[in-house]
Amino acid sequence: MNPVNYLYLSALLFTIGATGVLIRRNAIVVFMCIELMLNACNLAFVTFSRMHGNLDGQIIAFFTMVVAAAEVVVGLAIIVSLFRTRHSASVDDASLMKL
């Protein structure tokens, strides 16, 4: 099997995640989808590092995880405070950007 398939898989997952971000209203699920996208990227990195035979890809993936963790922490905090204030976790309720 050609490890390029891993890349195809990551592309697929990434696309699914992106679509999820677009069609789900629940902020938490949206976050999960983002996580999905990040993981897809990680998979790609790892695969590349395997292809190139060095560990840089894995390092990047590692950093990605760290950043993702930080992002999740902050993001979830935001969601919690949002839910406290407006008793809902729907991203559409926060349509304050409207003119």
């Binding site: 971000v21 677009l22 991203v91 559409d92 349509s95 950007m97 409207k98 003119l99």
Partner: protein, 648 residues
């Protein structure tokens, strides 16, 4: 001596300035100041006249250059006065008659609280009129030309609280403006043709220019003359102008201003001589007008309007004469002067009649006034005899000459014009006799009936101190009014004879206007005979119609022609329908166009931009997810772009 010329104009101008700016404190003496100024001007005129007589014929032209008016490169307009025999004649007529009428107005306007202003306007008119006849170039003449227009505007509309008066004034000014347009175009043509518009060079080199140009200039001048002298087709304002006080009608709309057109044509003789086609048009206009005015005069029951019609027709005579060229110039002016006398006299007489009759103007409500106002009767009668050309009186000489000249034109047009003149004479005799009979003879139709005619407004000064609906008790007018009438009567009796004595008027004017005896197919005697016959016929018919049977105090329906003539031969209706209504529609639709089209285009653009941005705004629905979609789509496009870049 030249320096006196400016004073001619300056005196009345000063008077006008003082009277108009002086304010109420001058009310007491205003009228005397005005009269004094015009008389002063008359005195200067006489002095200058004596001076001219002292010189021999070819040196009788005085030039006074005052200052350079508009200097722009080759366009040089100066304020320069030119006093020669022609303008001298006018100066004497204007200041003389003018002073008399000032005097008359002192009495006539006695009860008008705005008398001071009236005299201010009169002085203003004198100044403008003198400027007109004294100017040495056409542009300065144009100033006077419009100046008299302004004065007549102010005086016709003197009783401004009467909408009719205000409208009449506006109409007069507008119709005159049309004429003025002709004059200004003529001046432009002169400048384009000769590079100047001073009398000397233009008239001196008239023959150098191409005939087409000259004809154009001449026709434009004629247009101007038609406007000012109430010639067909621009005559419609004169009838309405009778809304003004009667002295105004006498001075401006009978004796002086309306004859300015004749002055213009005679003054520009050199141009007309070089443009025969234009001359023909002039004669036609004259002939048509003299018939037109006469017919209108026959039908009017308003005494002033009847006289106005006659004025039109008499000026028609003058224009006809002027159109005949050197044959007629002198006689045109001569008739102008004599007409100035007797027509002014007639108007003043009419004024005094109205003065005694609660400002009743409807002749059908007059009758048998001769024993109540004898002086008025006599003076008016003399004027009447003069105008119908009764042998020996001034009208006889001047009009007879014109008719002869018309025949002397020769050829078919000579015959036609002569015939018209003769017919005109007959009709003149008819309508003047009619006026005479209806006013002074017959039974007294004003007895036991209130005189309140629509034309006589409550604000006519006399009506203010007399009961509005009281039965009139006719009375002779005060001395201050009768004296001028008497003087004018003298003029209308003897002027013609005096002028004709050894053709002195001819010799006086000839150096300026030039003169040539045409070859008349008829001998002078024949023409005179024919005139007499016409005269008798006219008088006879009039007597048969108005002298024999009683005059109904309400106008009978009358024939079609009569009814048409009462309405100025439908000319006003034409103007009203075509010009006034049409104009109103035009302006209204233009206002609409401006608002919808011109403005609409701009507003439309603005609106469409606004609408577009509003629609774009809908994209900003504030939902993070739809923004995310566009972002994602953008990313996709970017990827696609990079791939394509690598592909190619």
């Amino acid at each position: 001596m030249e320096n006196l010329i400016a004073l001619l104009v300056a005196a009345p101008l000063l008077g006008a300035a003082v009277l108009l700016c002086g304010g109420r404190r001058l009310d007491a003496v205003g009228h005397w100041i005005g009269t004094l100024m015009s008389t002063a001007s008359f005195v200067f005129g006489v002095i200058l006249f004596a001076d001219l007589l002292g010189k021999n014929a070819e040196h009788r032209t005085l030039i006074q250059h005052l200052w350079t008016w508009i200097p722009v490169e080759s366009f040089q307009a100066d304020v320069t006065f030119r006093l020669d025999q022609l303008s001298m004649t006018f100066v004497l007529l204007i200041t003389g008659v003018g002073s008399l009428i000032h005097l008359y107005s002192v009495g006539y306007m006695e009860h008008d609280e705005r008398r001071r202003r009236f005299f201010g306007y009169l002085n203003l008119f004198l100044a403008a009129m003198l400027l007109l006849v004294l100017a040495d170039n056409y542009l300065l003449l144009y100033v006077g030309w419009e100046g008299v227009g302004l004065a007549s505007y102010l005086l016709i509309g003197f009783w401004q609280h009467k909408p009719s008066a205000a409208t009449a004034a506006k109409k007069a000014f507008l119709v005159n403006r049309v004429g003025d347009m002709g004059l200004s175009i003529a001046i432009m043509l002169m400048f384009a043709t000769f590079g100047t518009f001073a009398f000397g060079p233009v008239l001196g080199h008239a023959t150098d220019a191409s005939e087409g140009k000259l004809t154009a200039i001449a026709l434009m001048l004629l247009l101007a003359a038609c406007g000012k002298s109430a010639q067909v087709p621009l005559q419609s304002w004169l009838g309405d102008a009778m809304e003004g006080p009667t002295p105004v009608s006498a001075l401006i709309h009978a004796a002086t201003m309306v004859t300015a057109g004749v002055y213009l044509i005679v003054r520009s003789g050199a141009i007309f001589n070089a443009a025969p086609d234009a001359q023909l048009v002039v004669t036609v206009v004259g002939a048509v007008t003299l018939l037109f005015g006469a017919i209108v005069g026959c039908a009017k029951d308003d005494i002033k309007k009847a006289l106005a019609g006659s004025t039109m027709s008499q000026i028609g005579y003058m224009v006809l004469a002027a159109g005949l060229g050197p044959i007629g110039y002198v006689f045109a002016i001569m008739h102008l002067v004599t007409h100035g006398f007797f027509k002014a006299g007639l108007f003043l007489g009419a004024g005094s009649v109205m003065h005694g009759m609660n400002d009743e103007v409807d002749m059908r409500k007059y009758g048998g006034l001769r024993k109540y106002m004898p002086v008025t009767f006599i003076t008016f009668g003399l004027g009447y005899l003069a105008i119908i050309g009764f042998p020996g009186l001034s009208g006889f000489f001047s009009k007879d000459k014109i008719i002869e000249a018309a025949f002397a034109k020769g050829g078919t047009e000579g015959w036609i014009l002569g015939a018209c003149a003769l017919v005109g004479a007959a009709i003149t005799a008819f309508y003047m006799t009619r006026v005479m009979l209806m006013t002074f003879f017959g039974e007294e139709r004003w007895k036991n009936q209130p005189t309140r005619s629509p034309e006589a407004p409550s604000a006519e000064p006399a009506a203010e101190h007399q009961g509005e609906h009281a039965e009139p008790h006719p009375h002779e007018s005060p001395k201050v009014m009768t004296i001028p009438m008497i003087v004018l009567a003298f003029g209308s009796v003897f002027a013609g004879f005096f002028f004709n004595l050894g053709d002195r008027f001819l010799h006086w004017l000839e150096p300026v206007t030039g003169h040539s005896e045409g070859d008349s197919p008829l001998s002078a005697a024949t023409v005179t005979g024919a005139t007499m016959v016409c005269l008798v016929i006219g008088v006879g018919i009039a007597y048969a119609m108005y002298g024999r049977r009683p005059v109904p105090s309400v106008a009978p329906r009358g024939s079609l022609l009569t009814r048409a003539a009462r309405r100025d031969l439908l000319q006003d209706d034409f103007n009203h329908v075509v010009l006034v209504r049409g104009g109103e529609h035009l302006t209204r639709s233009l206002v609409y166009v401006d608002h919808t089209l011109v403005d609409g285009v701009v507003n439309g653009t603005a609106a469409s931009v606004g609408g577009l941005s509003g629609r774009m705004r809908k994209l900003q629905n504030g939902f993070a997810r739809s923004y995310a979609v566009s972002m994602f789509g953008g990313a996709a496009v970017l990827v696609a772009a990079t791939l394509l870049m690598r592909a190619v």
